[in-house]
């Protein structure tokens, strides 16, 4: 019995922790932090143990909604290589970030709210990982959305944070709109929401033709919303308003990866629908290019990393689009989680060191002030930009190049876009590194920057190891079995390494000793004016229509249905009043006329 209940313990431990913090955490900081970290620790240990266990075959579930033969929604736990990988991934990064945030949030207010939010997030993320049907995944999908809403809005007294959290939730909701529609369409044909049930009915689904393609693209909408792909990416850079550990855990490593995980979970159906995978590949490719371009011109340290995350997610989505097995995008997700979380935590320690200064142009020469952070950031930067040649390299090198190679083979145009983006990635990563750590101190805060306390630096160290080692073949073979496509032109590897060197060199030249940003491309800096485009769109369509219907409701519907009848009765009363003439003969006349009229109708007609 123990074996089957372990996954439930993993799932519900953070929820229990969140509940307890909600009730008791208000009064004592250590209690709330302790509860959260304890829960994360339990999950970590159990998930590593679960990783060792064989896959579960029998469905281990209870029924959330069960109307006998019409509609049944089980709440089940699936244990298979995909979910075990994610379990391990999430549950190793989470404790590290929890411990790190002890230091980061030391003298912040709303301590209990922060840890309750993080535990709630962990609960919902594990829910997505272990979901065995679409509806359960959708439930935790929205719960993850709400926990990111809570965490982004942690500093709710700041207008920017409040707007960012609202925007994040609403954009996610728009994505979920498409997702739910996709689920509904699939359910209508297959009659079930459970993944295995859907996979069994794939031939039936195929017979639907374009219907299935629409359904798959709609399901992909969920990923666009959650993993901030192109049309719905605006919320991720703004979500940097939340505390940095939140950005590292949620908006870099795990939450945004949920979209890609869902596609991986749904992969068997996607294999059958080439058109949908084409759409997915193209969205992924364009997103990674555009995001990389935007990243080159940002000044806020966290925003650069945010755009880089969008770009890397674009790679993963591209991977889903072009690869033939789900493991290839998952491999990049796995490595990206480590090094992007590392980079964010380094940024966090820089921000704390610089007393909450986030503009890179106010930093400089921090390498001697914050050596450990500097070294960890180098590891992260090398992993992110995919440094490495031939057999050896950092984790990013293996996973990103794998996707690029597959892309070049299956979708050449997208492949070469991905290659160019790799160069851009190297450029903006090292631009960040050189401006922040090298050059002269650009502000007095930079002059007296101090290294972060041990409780923050040790997690950095812990994360630096997988950032470097996660991609090595013998480590990667534990989790995945990926192989390169058979005949891949050697040219690609060469060009990639060349572009890496070019990017780094360009960054070195431009930003080695730059006081302010030498190149300024307003198009990229203003994020292709997408944000103000959306603002305008919302203002005219939604608010315009809303005020129009508000006016209509008061003056048209209300007038027509309520005022009109009441006015009508008043008018009738007013008119009939004039019959009272006051003189007897008039009455006699009316009386006589009435009688004669009546008689005429009765007799003479």
């Amino acid at each position: 019995m123990m074996a089957t209940s372990i996954p439930w313990i993993i799932l519900f431990a953070p929820l229990v922790a969140a509940g307890l913090i909600l009730i008791f955490g208000k009064h004592s900081k250590p209690l709330s932090a302790g509860l959260a970290i304890a829960a994360a620790g339990i999950c970590c240990v159990l998930s590593w143990w679960q990783f060792g266990q064989p896959d579960a075959t029998t469905p281990n579930q209870f029924y959330w909604i069960h109307i006998p033969d019409l509609f049944s929604v089980p709440m089940g736990v699936t244990i298979d290589p995909l979910s075990k990988l994610m379990l391990v991934l999430v549950n190793t990064i989470a404790p590290i970030v929890f411990v790190y945030s002890l230091g980061y949030m030391a003298h912040e207010e709303g301590y209990w709210r922060y840890f309750a939010g993080l535990s709630l997030f962990l609960f919902s993320m594990l829910g997505i990982v272990m979901a065995d049907n679409f509806l359960m995944m959708f439930i935790f999908w929205e719960l993850v959305g709400v926990s990111s809403y809570i965490l982004i809005g942690h500093y709710f007294w700041r207008d920017s944070a409040a707007n960012a959290s609202k925007q994040a939730f609403l954009v996610n909701r728009i994505g979920d709109f498409g997702f739910m529609l996709g689920i509904l369409m699939l359910w209508l044909v297959t009659g079930t929401v459970v993944f295995n049930g859907i996979f069994e009915k794939i031939p039936l689904l195929e017979s639907q033709g374009v219907y299935l393609t629409i359904a798959c693209v709609l399901v992909f909408c969920g990923t666009i919303g959650k993993s901030a792909q192109l049309p719905l990416h605006v919320w991720l850079p703004n979500s940097m308003e939340g505390p940095t550990p939140v950005s590292s855990l949620l908006h870099a490593a795990t939450m945004v990866a949920a979209g890609v995980y869902m596609l991986a979970r749904f992969f068997p159906v996607l294999l059958v629908v080439p058109v949908a995978r084409e759409v997915i590949a193209w969205v992924g490719g364009i997103t990674c290019l555009v995001a990389a371009l935007m990243a080159t011109q940002q000044d806020d340290i966290k925003r650069i990393l945010a755009y880089s995350t969008i770009s890397q997610l674009g790679y993963m989505v591209l991977g889903v689009g072009v690869a033939l097995t789900a493991d290839i995008p998952m491999f990049h997700l796995y490595t990206h989680a480590f090094f992007k979380c590392l980079l964010f935590l380094c940024a966090g320690s820089v921000i704390v060191g610089m007393h909450h200064e986030q503009n890179i142009w106010k930093m400089g020469a921090l390498k001697n002030k914050m050596p450990f952070t500097f070294i960890c950031t180098i590891f992260g930067a090398l992993a992110l930009s995919g440094a490495g040649f031939g057999p050896i390299g950092f984790s990013g090198f293996y996973s990103k190049d794998l996707i690029i190679v597959w892309a070049v083979q299956n979708a050449p145009i997208l492949g070469w876009i991905a290659v160019v983006t790799a160069g851009l990635t190297a450029f903006y990563t090292f631009r960040l590194l050189f401006v922040v750590f090298l050059g002269g101190p650009r502000s007095d805060a930079a002059k007296h920057a101090t290294e972060s306390p041990a409780v923050m630096v040790i997690p950095l160290m812990l994360l630096a190891i997988p950032a470097m080692a996660a991609g090595w073949p013998f480590v990667e073979r534990i989790f995945f079995h990926v192989e390169e496509p058979r005949h891949v032109p050697h040219l690609v590897h060469l060009v990639l390494f060349a572009l890496f060197l070019a990017g780094t060199g360009l960054a070195w030249v431009l930003y080695r000793r730059a006081e302010k940003d030498p190149i300024s491309i307003p198009l990229f800096a203003n994020r292709f004016y997408i944000d103000n485009g959306y603002a305008w769109l919302v203002k005219t369509f939604q608010d315009g229509l809303a005020s129009l219907s508000g006016w209509a409701d008061r003056w048209v519907v209300d007038l027509l249905v309520v005022q009109a009848p009441s006015k009508l009765t008043w008018v009738c009363g007013y008119v009939l009043r004039f019959l009272q003439l006051g003189n007897i003969q008039a009455y006699a006349f009316f009386f006589g006329a009435g009688v004669v009229g009546l008689l005429y109708l009765l007799i003479a007609r």
Binding site: F589, G592, V595, L599, A604
Partner: protein, 167 residues
């Protein structure tokens, strides 16, 4: 022969009735009304309703017209000066009257049911007063009592209405 008598009295009645409506001086109107009532009483007699004919004269001509004359005297009404002819009222009234008459004639002529002469009485000498009294007290006893109460109420009403407020 009876038809001639009937038409004499009928035309008398209608002529004096028209006079009531057209004359200016109220006293002459009242007197022409008296003549109408008398002619009407005569018509009742032609219908062998002697008791009703007598009552008609007694009550109407005797009491009601006397009351009218008394009131006309009390209020000292002169003949009215001819006010501006209110054309609208006259046209309306005339139209209604003509319409009514037209309908009347139409009905009477189209329905054959009325065009039969007086059926002979089985016992012409039977006194209609006894018959009326008998019917009154046999079938209409309750209405009779109510009429009594009505008259009482009328007298009380008149007394109240004409009581002069003592300033």
């Amino acid at each position: 022969m009876q038809i001639v008598l009937f038409w004499i009295f009928a035309s008398l009645m209608l002529f004096f009735g028209a006079l009531v409506v057209t004359l200016r001086n109220p006293v002459s109107c009242a007197l022409s009304l008296v003549m109408t009532f008398l002619a009407l009483a005569a018509l009742f007699v032609t219908l062998d309703a002697f008791f009703i004919g007598v009552i008609q004269i007694l009550v109407y001509t005797g009491a009601v017209m006397v009351l009218f004359l008394f009131i006309i005297m009390l209020l000292d009404l002169r003949g009215e000066k001819t006010r501006r002819l209110n054309l609208g009222a006259w046209a309306g009234g005339g139209l209604v009257a003509v319409g009514f008459v037209g309908l009347l004639v139409r009905v009477i002529h189209t329905l054959p049911g009325f065009a039969f002469e007086k059926p002979p009485l089985s016992d012409p000498s039977a006194s209609d007063v006894a018959a009326v009294g008998w019917t009154l007290f046999e079938f209409f006893n309750l209405p009779f009592q109510i009429i009594g109460v009505l008259l009482l109420v009328a007298t009380v009403g008149v007394v109240l209405l004409s009581k002069r407020e003592i300033k």
